[in-house]
Amino acid sequence: MSGNLTQWLMSEAPASRRQAVLGNAWRGLLAIVFNPAALAGLCIVAVLVLMAIFAPQLAGGISPIEQNLASRLAPPSAEHWFGTDELGRDIYARTLHGARVTLTIVMLVSVVVAPVGLAVGTFAGYLGGWIDAVLMRITDIFLAFPRLVLALAFAAALGPGIENAVIAISLTAWPPYARIARSETVTIAKSDFILAVVMQGASTWRVLFKHIVPLCLSSVIVRLTLDMAGIILTAAGLGFLGLGAQPPSAEWGAMVSAGRDVILDQWWVATIPGIAIFIVSLGFNLLGDGLRDVFDPKSS
């Protein structure tokens, strides 16, 4: 049965639209699975997602915000796997719940950044002329701001919190996507297959969204996965400085910050969330590298 299915998916002569699309997706999936680095990245990201979804169950009913001052700063033990922090909260439960905060920030930022960057870049690249000049100069201006400093100023002005952290990160993260999308669009726009749809009478919108955007999408997705590590670190940085997620919600950056005072005597308070940030950033980077190999037509 599975042999039949594989044959059906790998068919060189698909019999329906669905089979052609699924077959192409299957080939892409195989390419990721057979690339060890990409597979490792994919597994780490999958584990992160599962951790975030099932955080209450995995924590075994321990609340991430329940304080127990009697057992504060307890070392890792059978009762508290990763020890407790300065308010006696279980670090294992807090790390699991921190995955939710991290994933929320990463998802919200990508949902904002990728479409904005794609729209600005493809418009500028396809329409050219003064529209291109204006849009790209705006992009340059945003690109000139130091990322963390702008995010800091923004979070400080709007008040600390996850939503404002997301807005602050998005504001500084979109310009590279516009640059990528524009350079891809400039080369695609001159190609014969775009001229062919123009000759058929397709509107500018149709050419942009149906023919150019799908070709820019792969490089934008690759850049996004590679950027996610940076987004996580910026979010953690904001959290560390007290401008991201607010107490008592568990956020990895804020947890590292809280452990800073006791890092020599109670190392686990800062180290455990630090390790979580490290592993997740590494996972996204590996996945991004793998996706780049898969999407790059020249590599295969």
Binding site: P14, A15, R17, A20, L195, A196, G201, P214, P297
Partner: protein
């Protein structure tokens, strides 16, 4: 069907302007196949793209089907003529199946019976139904050019513009594509303009041929005259001599 008068095309390249086409004029009668030949850089493809409206040009008259062809063309005007490009490896969207590619013009023009029309178009150009859901990278050069021809003809345009449709193909495949084109031209009574650097191809397919050199039309000859060498310009004679290939000087 097509009237071109004093067509000029100028490209701006880093401050310098290059006159690619200067004052080209000709008429194409309904049902006629008009050829344009010339060496590389003579401006023959540029003339074709200017008529198609995909590059900017200036002319005292550019009429298609009795109406003046505007610079910005409406959807209906676009439908009058379709284009077949030189390189079949660059003219098909790499992420779309043959089905998607053929569907697109029908969707743009709001034509019903998509499925029937697409499968008829595939059969028309000699492809089999199993090619329908393949991606361009799963097709050979000749098959891709057939898809490009099917895409150009699926809207049933009265005019077909062919920009060296066979020069990127194998010699054996070239003959197949040329035969397909002449068959389709007859069955749809198409008016067409064929650009080529191959005198044999144009003499075989076209009724009249314009010979271009350095952006100007040197002369317009009938295909029969070209075949027997009854031409008036020295440049045309040189071109004919060159097309016969290398001849060893007899001593």
């Amino acid at each position: 069907m097509i009237t071109v008068k004093d067509l000029s095309v100028t490209f701006q390249n880093s401050g310098r302007s290059i006159h690619a086409v200067r004052g080209v004029s000709f008429d194409v009668a309904p049902g006629e196949t008009f050829g344009i030949v010339g060496e590389s850089g003579s401006g023959k493809s540029t003339v074709l793209k200017a008529i198609a409206g995909i590059i900017a040009s200036s002319s005292s008259a550019l009429e298609v089907d009795g109406r003046s062809a505007a610079k910005r063309r409406s959807r209906e005007e676009r439908r009058l003529m379709q284009f077949v490009f030189q390189d079949p490896y660059a003219s098909l969207h790499p992420r779309q199946t043959v089905d998607d590619i053929l569907r697109e013009p029908l969707i743009i023009h709001g034509i019903a019976n998509l499925d029937e029309k697409v499968s008829a178009a595939i059969a028309d150009v000699g492809l089999s139904p199993q090619h329908r859901f393949r991606y361009p990278h799963q097709l050979s050069g000749g098959q891709r050019q057939r898809v490009a021809i099917a895409r150009a003809l699926i809207l049933r345009p009265p005019i077909l513009l062919l920009d060296e449709p066979t020069s990127a193909l194998d010699v054996s495949v070239q003959a197949e594509i040329l035969n397909l084109l002449s068959k389709l031209r007859r069955s749809y009574s198409l008016t067409s303009i064929l650009v080529s650097h191959d005198l044999g191809v144009v003499a075989h397919l076209c009724n009249r041929i314009a010979i271009m050199q350095l952006g100007r039309v040197v002369e317009v000859v009938r295909a029969g005259d070209l075949r027997v060498g009854a031409v008036s310009q020295a440049y045309t004679r040189e071109l004919i001599a060159a097309s016969r290939g290398f001849t060893r000087a007899v001593t």
